[in-house]
Amino acid sequence: MTSVVDSLLNLFSFTGLDNSILLILVLHIPALSIFLVMVVNATVAVYVERKVAAFMQDRLGPMEVGLFGFKGGKKFWGGIGQTIADAIKLLTKEDIVPDSADKKLMLLAPFIIFIGAFLTFIAVPFSQNLVVSDFNIGVFYIMAMSSVGVIGIIIAGWSSNNKWSLYGSMRAAAQIVSYEIPIGLSLLLAVLVVGSLNLGDIVQWQAENRWFIFHSPFTFIAFFIFFISVVAETNRTPFDIPEAESELVAGWMTEYSGFKWAIFFLSEYANMMIVSIVASVVFLGGWLSPFAIINVGIPNSWMIFDGPLIGIIWLMSKALFLIFVMMWFRWTFPRLRVDQLMYLCWKVFIPFCLANLFFVSIWELIGGLFFK
Protein backbone atom coordinates (compact mmCIF):
# COMPACT_ATOMS: atom_id res chain seq x y z
CA MET A 1 0.00 0.00 0.00
CA THR A 2 1.35 3.37 -0.95
CA SER A 3 0.35 6.52 0.76
CA VAL A 4 -1.02 9.71 -0.66
CA VAL A 5 2.11 11.64 0.25
CA ASP A 6 4.33 9.26 -1.70
CA SER A 7 2.07 9.40 -4.73
CA LEU A 8 1.97 13.15 -4.58
CA LEU A 9 5.77 13.34 -4.32
CA ASN A 10 6.02 11.20 -7.44
CA LEU A 11 3.40 13.25 -9.19
CA PHE A 12 5.09 16.55 -8.53
CA SER A 13 8.64 15.36 -9.08
CA PHE A 14 8.59 16.91 -12.57
CA THR A 15 8.81 20.36 -11.00
CA GLY A 16 12.42 19.63 -10.16
CA LEU A 17 12.14 21.25 -6.75
CA ASP A 18 14.30 20.23 -3.88
CA ASN A 19 12.77 17.21 -2.23
CA SER A 20 12.31 18.68 1.23
CA ILE A 21 10.69 21.84 -0.09
CA LEU A 22 8.47 19.74 -2.26
CA LEU A 23 7.50 17.66 0.73
CA ILE A 24 6.52 20.70 2.72
CA LEU A 25 4.48 22.03 -0.19
CA VAL A 26 2.88 18.70 -0.97
CA LEU A 27 1.93 18.07 2.64
CA HIS A 28 -0.54 20.90 2.46
CA ILE A 29 -2.72 19.01 0.03
CA PRO A 30 -3.66 16.10 2.32
CA ALA A 31 -3.76 18.41 5.32
CA LEU A 32 -6.30 20.65 3.67
CA SER A 33 -8.21 17.66 2.39
CA ILE A 34 -8.45 16.23 5.89
CA PHE A 35 -9.68 19.54 7.18
CA LEU A 36 -12.22 19.68 4.39
CA VAL A 37 -13.33 16.13 5.12
CA MET A 38 -13.83 17.07 8.75
CA VAL A 39 -15.81 20.18 7.94
CA VAL A 40 -17.94 18.55 5.28
CA ASN A 41 -18.45 15.54 7.50
CA ALA A 42 -19.64 17.69 10.38
CA THR A 43 -21.98 19.68 8.16
CA VAL A 44 -23.45 16.64 6.51
CA ALA A 45 -23.62 14.69 9.75
CA VAL A 46 -25.50 17.48 11.46
CA TYR A 47 -27.96 17.54 8.61
CA VAL A 48 -28.33 13.78 8.66
CA GLU A 49 -28.62 13.69 12.42
CA ARG A 50 -31.36 16.27 12.25
CA LYS A 51 -33.17 14.34 9.56
CA VAL A 52 -32.86 11.06 11.43
CA ALA A 53 -34.20 12.78 14.51
CA ALA A 54 -37.02 14.30 12.50
CA PHE A 55 -38.07 11.00 11.03
CA MET A 56 -37.85 9.16 14.32
CA GLN A 57 -39.44 11.80 16.48
CA ASP A 58 -42.00 13.41 14.18
CA ARG A 59 -40.18 16.69 14.37
CA LEU A 60 -41.50 19.35 12.10
CA GLY A 61 -38.68 21.89 11.79
CA PRO A 62 -36.13 19.74 9.95
CA MET A 63 -38.80 18.82 7.43
CA GLU A 64 -39.66 22.38 6.55
CA VAL A 65 -36.74 24.79 6.58
CA GLY A 66 -35.67 25.38 3.01
CA LEU A 67 -32.87 27.17 1.27
CA PHE A 68 -33.57 30.27 -0.82
CA GLY A 69 -37.17 29.20 -0.95
CA PHE A 70 -36.21 25.73 -2.11
CA LYS A 71 -37.89 23.07 -0.06
CA GLY A 72 -37.32 20.07 -2.25
CA GLY A 73 -40.58 18.33 -1.71
CA LYS A 74 -40.43 18.81 2.04
CA LYS A 75 -39.53 15.25 2.91
CA PHE A 76 -35.89 14.70 2.21
CA TRP A 77 -34.27 17.97 1.29
CA GLY A 78 -36.39 20.02 3.63
CA GLY A 79 -34.32 21.35 6.48
CA ILE A 80 -31.19 21.88 4.45
CA GLY A 81 -31.31 25.59 5.12
CA GLN A 82 -31.04 24.90 8.83
CA THR A 83 -27.56 23.44 8.47
CA ILE A 84 -26.28 26.50 6.68
CA ALA A 85 -27.91 28.81 9.17
CA ASP A 86 -26.27 26.73 11.88
CA ALA A 87 -22.82 27.09 10.38
CA ILE A 88 -23.19 30.85 9.95
CA LYS A 89 -24.51 31.18 13.46
CA LEU A 90 -21.63 29.22 14.97
CA LEU A 91 -19.00 31.20 13.11
CA THR A 92 -20.44 34.61 13.86
CA LYS A 93 -21.54 34.09 17.44
CA GLU A 94 -19.87 36.04 20.20
CA ASP A 95 -17.11 34.16 21.89
CA ILE A 96 -17.93 34.35 25.58
CA VAL A 97 -15.17 33.68 28.05
CA PRO A 98 -16.14 33.70 31.72
CA ASP A 99 -14.36 36.29 33.77
CA SER A 100 -12.80 33.89 36.24
CA ALA A 101 -11.95 31.23 33.68
CA ASP A 102 -8.39 30.24 32.87
CA LYS A 103 -8.35 32.03 29.54
CA LYS A 104 -5.18 30.50 28.08
CA LEU A 105 -6.21 26.95 28.77
CA MET A 106 -9.74 27.64 27.69
CA LEU A 107 -8.38 28.73 24.34
CA LEU A 108 -5.98 25.80 24.14
CA ALA A 109 -8.48 23.04 24.93
CA PRO A 110 -10.50 23.04 21.68
CA PHE A 111 -7.32 22.91 19.68
CA ILE A 112 -5.93 19.96 21.60
CA ILE A 113 -9.12 18.07 20.89
CA PHE A 114 -9.05 19.16 17.27
CA ILE A 115 -5.41 18.18 16.83
CA GLY A 116 -6.15 14.81 18.36
CA ALA A 117 -8.83 14.18 15.77
CA PHE A 118 -6.71 15.64 12.99
CA LEU A 119 -3.65 13.55 13.77
CA THR A 120 -5.79 10.44 13.87
CA PHE A 121 -7.03 11.11 10.37
CA ILE A 122 -3.47 10.84 9.04
CA ALA A 123 -3.51 7.09 9.46
CA VAL A 124 -7.16 6.52 8.56
CA PRO A 125 -7.45 4.89 5.15
CA PHE A 126 -10.37 5.89 2.96
CA SER A 127 -9.60 3.27 0.40
CA GLN A 128 -6.74 1.23 -0.89
CA ASN A 129 -3.75 3.57 -1.24
CA LEU A 130 -5.90 6.48 -0.16
CA VAL A 131 -4.25 7.17 3.17
CA VAL A 132 -2.18 10.20 4.02
CA SER A 133 0.58 8.20 5.58
CA ASP A 134 0.64 4.46 5.69
CA PHE A 135 1.98 3.56 9.10
CA ASN A 136 3.15 0.11 9.88
CA ILE A 137 1.58 0.48 13.26
CA GLY A 138 -1.65 1.98 11.93
CA VAL A 139 -4.08 0.51 14.47
CA PHE A 140 -1.85 1.34 17.36
CA TYR A 141 -1.23 4.86 16.06
CA ILE A 142 -4.95 5.54 15.76
CA MET A 143 -5.52 4.36 19.30
CA ALA A 144 -2.67 6.50 20.59
CA MET A 145 -3.81 9.63 18.86
CA SER A 146 -7.45 9.25 19.78
CA SER A 147 -6.37 9.21 23.41
CA VAL A 148 -4.99 12.73 23.08
CA GLY A 149 -8.43 14.31 22.90
CA VAL A 150 -9.27 13.39 26.48
CA ILE A 151 -6.69 15.86 27.75
CA GLY A 152 -8.42 18.60 25.83
CA ILE A 153 -11.69 17.59 27.45
CA ILE A 154 -10.23 17.66 30.95
CA ILE A 155 -8.62 21.03 30.35
CA ALA A 156 -11.81 22.41 28.83
CA GLY A 157 -13.80 21.34 31.85
CA TRP A 158 -11.30 22.61 34.36
CA SER A 159 -10.47 25.93 32.75
CA SER A 160 -14.14 26.97 32.43
CA ASN A 161 -14.21 27.34 36.21
CA ASN A 162 -17.69 25.91 36.35
CA LYS A 163 -18.65 23.08 38.64
CA TRP A 164 -20.84 21.44 36.04
CA SER A 165 -17.97 21.54 33.56
CA LEU A 166 -15.64 20.02 36.10
CA TYR A 167 -18.10 17.19 36.70
CA GLY A 168 -18.37 16.68 32.97
CA SER A 169 -14.65 16.52 32.43
CA MET A 170 -14.17 14.18 35.39
CA ARG A 171 -16.75 11.84 33.95
CA ALA A 172 -15.31 12.17 30.45
CA ALA A 173 -11.81 11.36 31.57
CA ALA A 174 -12.89 8.32 33.55
CA GLN A 175 -15.08 7.12 30.73
CA ILE A 176 -12.69 7.58 27.84
CA VAL A 177 -9.66 6.18 29.62
CA SER A 178 -11.65 3.15 30.71
CA TYR A 179 -13.23 2.42 27.37
CA GLU A 180 -9.89 2.51 25.62
CA ILE A 181 -9.17 -0.87 27.20
CA PRO A 182 -12.01 -2.86 25.60
CA ILE A 183 -11.36 -1.03 22.34
CA GLY A 184 -7.71 -1.98 22.42
CA LEU A 185 -8.46 -5.54 23.40
CA SER A 186 -10.99 -5.94 20.60
CA LEU A 187 -8.59 -4.55 18.04
CA LEU A 188 -5.94 -6.86 19.41
CA LEU A 189 -8.02 -9.77 18.21
CA ALA A 190 -7.62 -8.64 14.64
CA VAL A 191 -3.95 -7.96 15.14
CA LEU A 192 -3.50 -11.39 16.66
CA VAL A 193 -5.12 -13.16 13.75
CA VAL A 194 -3.61 -11.09 10.98
CA GLY A 195 -0.20 -10.67 12.55
CA SER A 196 0.13 -7.05 11.55
CA LEU A 197 -0.79 -3.66 12.90
CA ASN A 198 -1.03 -2.24 9.43
CA LEU A 199 -4.58 -1.44 8.39
CA GLY A 200 -3.78 -2.29 4.77
CA ASP A 201 -2.56 -5.73 5.79
CA ILE A 202 -5.67 -6.30 7.86
CA VAL A 203 -7.89 -5.58 4.86
CA GLN A 204 -5.66 -7.67 2.62
CA TRP A 205 -6.09 -10.58 5.04
CA GLN A 206 -9.85 -10.13 4.89
CA ALA A 207 -9.72 -10.09 1.10
CA GLU A 208 -7.89 -13.39 1.15
CA ASN A 209 -9.97 -15.03 3.86
CA ARG A 210 -13.23 -13.50 5.02
CA TRP A 211 -14.57 -10.44 6.74
CA PHE A 212 -13.21 -10.34 10.20
CA ILE A 213 -16.61 -10.13 11.89
CA PHE A 214 -17.44 -13.53 10.37
CA HIS A 215 -14.09 -15.06 11.10
CA SER A 216 -15.09 -16.74 14.33
CA PRO A 217 -17.80 -16.39 16.97
CA PHE A 218 -15.35 -14.50 19.11
CA THR A 219 -14.62 -11.85 16.55
CA PHE A 220 -18.36 -11.52 16.08
CA ILE A 221 -18.72 -10.67 19.76
CA ALA A 222 -15.63 -8.49 19.59
CA PHE A 223 -17.17 -6.33 16.89
CA PHE A 224 -20.14 -5.49 19.08
CA ILE A 225 -17.97 -4.83 22.10
CA PHE A 226 -15.82 -2.62 19.94
CA PHE A 227 -18.73 -0.73 18.50
CA ILE A 228 -20.43 -0.13 21.84
CA SER A 229 -17.13 0.95 23.33
CA VAL A 230 -16.45 3.45 20.59
CA VAL A 231 -19.92 4.87 21.06
CA ALA A 232 -18.87 5.41 24.65
CA GLU A 233 -15.49 6.77 23.62
CA THR A 234 -17.10 9.38 21.38
CA ASN A 235 -19.50 10.40 24.16
CA ARG A 236 -22.62 9.57 22.24
CA THR A 237 -25.95 8.57 23.78
CA PRO A 238 -26.51 6.30 25.72
CA PHE A 239 -23.03 7.00 27.01
CA ASP A 240 -23.12 10.78 26.79
CA ILE A 241 -22.85 11.25 30.53
CA PRO A 242 -19.99 13.80 30.25
CA GLU A 243 -22.32 16.22 28.52
CA ALA A 244 -25.60 14.89 29.91
CA GLU A 245 -27.76 17.86 29.19
CA SER A 246 -30.41 17.01 31.76
CA GLU A 247 -27.87 16.69 34.55
CA LEU A 248 -24.77 18.70 33.75
CA VAL A 249 -26.29 21.34 31.46
CA ALA A 250 -23.74 20.59 28.74
CA GLY A 251 -20.92 19.09 30.76
CA TRP A 252 -17.45 20.20 29.83
CA MET A 253 -18.77 22.33 26.96
CA THR A 254 -21.06 24.43 29.16
CA GLU A 255 -19.04 27.63 29.03
CA TYR A 256 -18.00 27.40 25.40
CA SER A 257 -19.68 29.28 22.64
CA GLY A 258 -19.22 30.35 19.07
CA PHE A 259 -16.19 29.19 17.16
CA LYS A 260 -14.56 27.26 19.99
CA TRP A 261 -17.72 25.30 20.47
CA ALA A 262 -17.85 24.70 16.72
CA ILE A 263 -14.41 23.13 16.96
CA PHE A 264 -15.65 20.74 19.63
CA PHE A 265 -18.52 19.93 17.38
CA LEU A 266 -16.26 19.36 14.41
CA SER A 267 -14.03 17.07 16.43
CA GLU A 268 -16.94 15.11 17.84
CA TYR A 269 -18.27 14.29 14.40
CA ALA A 270 -14.75 13.68 13.10
CA ASN A 271 -14.24 11.18 15.91
CA MET A 272 -17.48 9.47 15.04
CA MET A 273 -16.27 9.13 11.49
CA ILE A 274 -12.85 7.86 12.51
CA VAL A 275 -14.19 5.16 14.76
CA SER A 276 -16.74 4.11 12.17
CA ILE A 277 -14.06 3.84 9.52
CA VAL A 278 -11.80 1.88 11.86
CA ALA A 279 -14.65 -0.46 12.72
CA SER A 280 -15.38 -0.94 9.03
CA VAL A 281 -11.75 -1.49 8.13
CA VAL A 282 -10.95 -3.89 10.92
CA PHE A 283 -14.18 -5.85 11.18
CA LEU A 284 -16.29 -5.20 8.11
CA GLY A 285 -13.82 -5.73 5.32
CA GLY A 286 -12.80 -2.13 4.77
CA TRP A 287 -12.92 -1.20 1.12
CA LEU A 288 -13.87 -4.69 -0.02
CA SER A 289 -17.18 -5.11 -1.72
CA PRO A 290 -19.79 -6.98 0.29
CA PHE A 291 -20.01 -9.63 -2.44
CA ALA A 292 -17.00 -11.36 -1.00
CA ILE A 293 -18.05 -11.53 2.60
CA ILE A 294 -16.90 -15.08 3.11
CA ASN A 295 -14.98 -15.40 -0.13
CA VAL A 296 -16.70 -18.47 -1.55
CA GLY A 297 -18.33 -19.09 -4.88
CA ILE A 298 -18.12 -15.59 -6.26
CA PRO A 299 -17.77 -15.26 -10.00
CA ASN A 300 -14.59 -13.50 -10.85
CA SER A 301 -16.41 -10.95 -12.93
CA TRP A 302 -18.00 -9.56 -9.76
CA MET A 303 -14.59 -8.52 -8.61
CA ILE A 304 -14.85 -5.41 -10.75
CA PHE A 305 -16.71 -3.95 -7.84
CA ASP A 306 -13.50 -3.97 -5.88
CA GLY A 307 -10.61 -1.62 -6.27
CA PRO A 308 -9.33 1.65 -4.91
CA LEU A 309 -11.91 3.90 -6.52
CA ILE A 310 -15.03 1.87 -5.85
CA GLY A 311 -13.55 0.86 -2.51
CA ILE A 312 -14.02 4.35 -1.16
CA ILE A 313 -17.74 4.03 -1.80
CA TRP A 314 -17.92 0.68 -0.03
CA LEU A 315 -15.92 1.90 2.93
CA MET A 316 -17.86 5.11 3.29
CA SER A 317 -21.20 3.37 3.02
CA LYS A 318 -20.18 0.97 5.76
CA ALA A 319 -18.91 3.80 7.90
CA LEU A 320 -21.98 5.92 7.26
CA PHE A 321 -24.20 3.03 8.21
CA LEU A 322 -22.36 2.76 11.51
CA ILE A 323 -22.73 6.50 12.03
CA PHE A 324 -26.42 6.11 11.32
CA VAL A 325 -26.62 3.38 13.94
CA MET A 326 -25.00 5.73 16.42
CA MET A 327 -27.65 8.33 15.66
CA TRP A 328 -30.30 5.65 15.95
CA PHE A 329 -28.98 4.87 19.42
CA ARG A 330 -29.11 8.50 20.34
CA TRP A 331 -32.77 8.89 19.52
CA THR A 332 -33.77 5.62 21.12
CA PHE A 333 -31.99 5.08 24.39
CA PRO A 334 -31.99 6.85 27.71
CA ARG A 335 -28.69 7.67 29.29
CA LEU A 336 -26.77 5.38 31.60
CA ARG A 337 -25.65 6.55 34.98
CA VAL A 338 -21.96 7.07 35.55
CA ASP A 339 -21.48 4.04 37.78
CA GLN A 340 -23.48 1.79 35.45
CA LEU A 341 -21.24 2.93 32.65
CA MET A 342 -18.15 1.96 34.58
CA TYR A 343 -19.75 -1.31 35.57
CA LEU A 344 -20.39 -2.10 31.93
CA CYS A 345 -16.81 -1.38 30.99
CA TRP A 346 -14.87 -3.01 33.78
CA LYS A 347 -17.10 -5.88 34.76
CA VAL A 348 -18.68 -6.84 31.46
CA PHE A 349 -16.63 -5.77 28.49
CA ILE A 350 -13.13 -6.31 29.77
CA PRO A 351 -13.72 -9.87 31.03
CA PHE A 352 -15.46 -10.68 27.76
CA CYS A 353 -12.59 -9.17 25.79
CA LEU A 354 -9.99 -11.15 27.70
CA ALA A 355 -11.97 -14.34 27.23
CA ASN A 356 -12.32 -13.51 23.55
CA LEU A 357 -8.60 -13.05 23.25
CA PHE A 358 -7.95 -16.39 24.88
CA PHE A 359 -10.50 -18.30 22.83
CA VAL A 360 -9.54 -16.72 19.55
CA SER A 361 -5.95 -17.80 20.14
CA ILE A 362 -7.16 -21.36 20.63
CA TRP A 363 -9.36 -21.03 17.57
CA GLU A 364 -6.37 -19.94 15.54
CA LEU A 365 -4.26 -22.81 16.82
CA ILE A 366 -6.93 -25.39 16.03
CA GLY A 367 -7.79 -23.73 12.76
CA GLY A 368 -4.11 -23.78 11.91
CA LEU A 369 -4.02 -27.50 12.54
CA PHE A 370 -7.21 -28.51 10.75
CA PHE A 371 -8.19 -26.08 8.06
CA LYS A 372 -4.86 -25.14 6.60
Binding site: L9, S20, L105, I137, A144, I155, A173, V177
Partner: protein, 171 residues
Protein backbone atom coordinates in the same frame (compact mmCIF):
# COMPACT_ATOMS: atom_id res chain seq x y z
CA UNK B 1 7.51 7.06 6.00
CA UNK B 2 11.06 8.13 5.57
CA UNK B 3 12.36 11.64 5.90
CA UNK B 4 13.79 12.41 2.48
CA UNK B 5 16.91 14.51 3.02
CA UNK B 6 18.89 15.41 6.08
CA UNK B 7 18.34 19.15 5.96
CA UNK B 8 14.65 18.98 6.65
CA UNK B 9 15.06 16.37 9.31
CA UNK B 10 17.73 18.42 11.01
CA UNK B 11 15.46 21.44 11.04
CA UNK B 12 12.64 19.33 12.39
CA UNK B 13 14.86 17.70 14.96
CA UNK B 14 16.05 20.98 16.38
CA UNK B 15 12.55 22.38 16.29
CA UNK B 16 11.30 19.44 18.29
CA UNK B 17 14.19 19.70 20.72
CA UNK B 18 13.33 23.35 21.20
CA UNK B 19 9.73 22.39 21.91
CA UNK B 20 10.80 19.80 24.45
CA UNK B 21 13.14 22.15 26.25
CA UNK B 22 10.75 25.09 26.22
CA UNK B 23 7.80 23.09 27.46
CA UNK B 24 9.95 21.31 30.06
CA UNK B 25 11.08 24.70 31.33
CA UNK B 26 7.45 25.76 31.55
CA UNK B 27 6.69 22.65 33.55
CA UNK B 28 9.13 23.62 36.25
CA UNK B 29 8.67 27.37 36.22
CA UNK B 30 4.94 27.78 35.82
CA UNK B 31 3.30 28.92 39.05
CA UNK B 32 0.08 27.15 38.17
CA UNK B 33 0.10 23.40 38.64
CA UNK B 34 -2.40 22.73 35.89
CA UNK B 35 -0.42 24.84 33.46
CA UNK B 36 2.65 22.75 34.34
CA UNK B 37 0.71 19.57 33.69
CA UNK B 38 -0.47 20.85 30.33
CA UNK B 39 3.06 21.85 29.37
CA UNK B 40 4.04 18.30 30.12
CA UNK B 41 1.77 17.30 27.26
CA UNK B 42 4.02 19.04 24.78
CA UNK B 43 7.12 17.56 26.35
CA UNK B 44 5.70 14.08 25.96
CA UNK B 45 4.77 14.79 22.38
CA UNK B 46 8.23 16.06 21.64
CA UNK B 47 9.80 12.96 23.14
CA UNK B 48 7.50 10.83 21.01
CA UNK B 49 8.69 12.74 17.97
CA UNK B 50 12.29 12.08 18.93
CA UNK B 51 11.49 8.38 19.06
CA UNK B 52 10.24 8.60 15.50
CA UNK B 53 13.59 10.06 14.50
CA UNK B 54 15.14 6.94 15.92
CA UNK B 55 12.88 4.77 13.75
CA UNK B 56 11.15 3.61 16.91
CA UNK B 57 7.61 4.22 15.76
CA UNK B 58 6.13 1.65 18.10
CA UNK B 59 7.83 3.21 21.09
CA UNK B 60 6.63 6.62 19.95
CA UNK B 61 3.02 5.50 19.78
CA UNK B 62 3.44 3.75 23.11
CA UNK B 63 4.81 6.98 24.54
CA UNK B 64 1.71 8.83 23.41
CA UNK B 65 -0.77 6.19 24.51
CA UNK B 66 0.76 5.59 27.93
CA UNK B 67 2.19 8.93 28.91
CA UNK B 68 -0.28 11.25 27.23
CA UNK B 69 -3.39 9.11 27.34
CA UNK B 70 -2.76 7.55 30.70
CA UNK B 71 -0.23 9.09 33.02
CA UNK B 72 -0.82 12.72 32.05
CA UNK B 73 -4.55 12.27 32.45
CA UNK B 74 -3.86 10.85 35.88
CA UNK B 75 -1.59 13.77 36.78
CA UNK B 76 -4.07 16.38 35.60
CA UNK B 77 -6.83 14.53 37.35
CA UNK B 78 -4.90 14.48 40.58
CA UNK B 79 -3.82 18.09 40.34
CA UNK B 80 -7.27 19.28 39.32
CA UNK B 81 -9.08 17.57 42.13
CA UNK B 82 -6.65 18.66 44.77
CA UNK B 83 -8.50 20.92 47.08
CA UNK B 84 -8.72 24.59 46.14
CA UNK B 85 -6.16 24.29 43.42
CA UNK B 86 -7.49 27.42 41.74
CA UNK B 87 -5.86 29.61 44.31
CA UNK B 88 -2.79 27.51 45.01
CA UNK B 89 0.37 29.11 43.78
CA UNK B 90 3.55 27.19 44.07
CA UNK B 91 6.14 28.77 46.25
CA UNK B 92 9.00 28.93 43.79
CA UNK B 93 11.47 30.53 46.15
CA UNK B 94 14.59 28.42 46.01
CA UNK B 95 16.73 27.45 48.95
CA UNK B 96 20.43 26.70 48.85
CA UNK B 97 20.93 28.49 45.59
CA UNK B 98 24.69 28.57 45.52
CA UNK B 99 25.30 24.86 46.21
CA UNK B 100 22.58 24.08 43.71
CA UNK B 101 24.19 26.15 41.00
CA UNK B 102 27.58 24.66 41.71
CA UNK B 103 26.23 21.14 41.59
CA UNK B 104 24.23 21.72 38.41
CA UNK B 105 27.14 23.37 36.67
CA UNK B 106 29.47 20.55 37.59
CA UNK B 107 26.97 18.02 36.27
CA UNK B 108 26.67 20.00 33.06
CA UNK B 109 30.44 20.17 32.70
CA UNK B 110 30.73 16.47 33.26
CA UNK B 111 28.12 15.72 30.62
CA UNK B 112 29.77 18.01 28.13
CA UNK B 113 33.10 16.35 28.85
CA UNK B 114 31.62 12.94 28.22
CA UNK B 115 29.82 14.05 25.08
CA UNK B 116 32.92 15.64 23.63
CA UNK B 117 35.23 12.79 24.50
CA UNK B 118 33.07 9.90 23.45
CA UNK B 119 33.98 8.35 20.17
CA UNK B 120 30.51 8.55 18.52
CA UNK B 121 30.03 6.08 15.73
CA UNK B 122 28.44 7.93 12.86
CA UNK B 123 26.89 5.59 10.39
CA UNK B 124 24.01 5.80 7.98
CA UNK B 125 21.27 3.94 9.77
CA UNK B 126 19.05 2.12 7.37
CA UNK B 127 15.30 2.80 7.59
CA UNK B 128 13.64 -0.08 9.35
CA UNK B 129 10.41 -1.42 8.03
CA UNK B 130 8.76 -2.32 11.28
CA UNK B 131 9.97 -2.77 14.79
CA UNK B 132 6.86 -4.30 16.30
CA UNK B 133 7.68 -7.85 15.32
CA UNK B 134 11.18 -7.71 16.75
CA UNK B 135 9.95 -6.11 19.96
CA UNK B 136 7.31 -8.78 20.30
CA UNK B 137 9.73 -11.57 19.66
CA UNK B 138 12.22 -10.18 22.13
CA UNK B 139 9.60 -9.60 24.82
CA UNK B 140 8.21 -13.11 24.56
CA UNK B 141 11.58 -14.71 23.94
CA UNK B 142 14.80 -13.38 25.30
CA UNK B 143 13.31 -10.98 27.82
CA UNK B 144 10.36 -13.09 28.88
CA UNK B 145 11.37 -13.22 32.53
CA UNK B 146 11.74 -9.45 33.06
CA UNK B 147 8.55 -8.93 31.11
CA UNK B 148 6.64 -11.28 33.38
CA UNK B 149 8.20 -9.82 36.49
CA UNK B 150 7.13 -6.35 35.42
CA UNK B 151 3.63 -7.52 34.72
CA UNK B 152 3.40 -9.14 38.15
CA UNK B 153 4.64 -5.91 39.68
CA UNK B 154 1.98 -3.96 37.82
CA UNK B 155 -0.69 -6.45 38.86
CA UNK B 156 0.40 -6.11 42.47
CA UNK B 157 0.21 -2.33 42.30
CA UNK B 158 -3.18 -2.57 40.63
CA UNK B 159 -4.53 -4.73 43.44
CA UNK B 160 -2.90 -2.44 45.98
CA UNK B 161 -4.52 0.62 44.46
CA UNK B 162 -7.90 -1.09 44.47
CA UNK B 163 -7.43 -2.07 48.11
CA UNK B 164 -6.40 1.44 49.11
CA UNK B 165 -9.37 3.06 47.45
CA UNK B 166 -11.80 0.50 48.82
CA UNK B 167 -10.87 0.94 52.43
CA UNK B 168 -12.65 4.27 52.70
CA UNK B 169 -16.10 2.83 52.19
CA UNK B 170 -15.64 -0.10 54.53
CA UNK B 171 -14.43 1.88 57.45
Amino acid sequence: MSIPIPELSVVLFFGICGLIIASALLVVTSPNLVHSAVSLLFTFFGVAAVYIFLYADFIAATQVIIYVGGILVLIIFGVMLTNKIENARIDSKTNNQIPGIVFTLSMLAMQFYIILNTNWKIAESEPRDTTVKEIGNLLLGKYLLPFEVISILLLASLIGAAMLSRRKTER
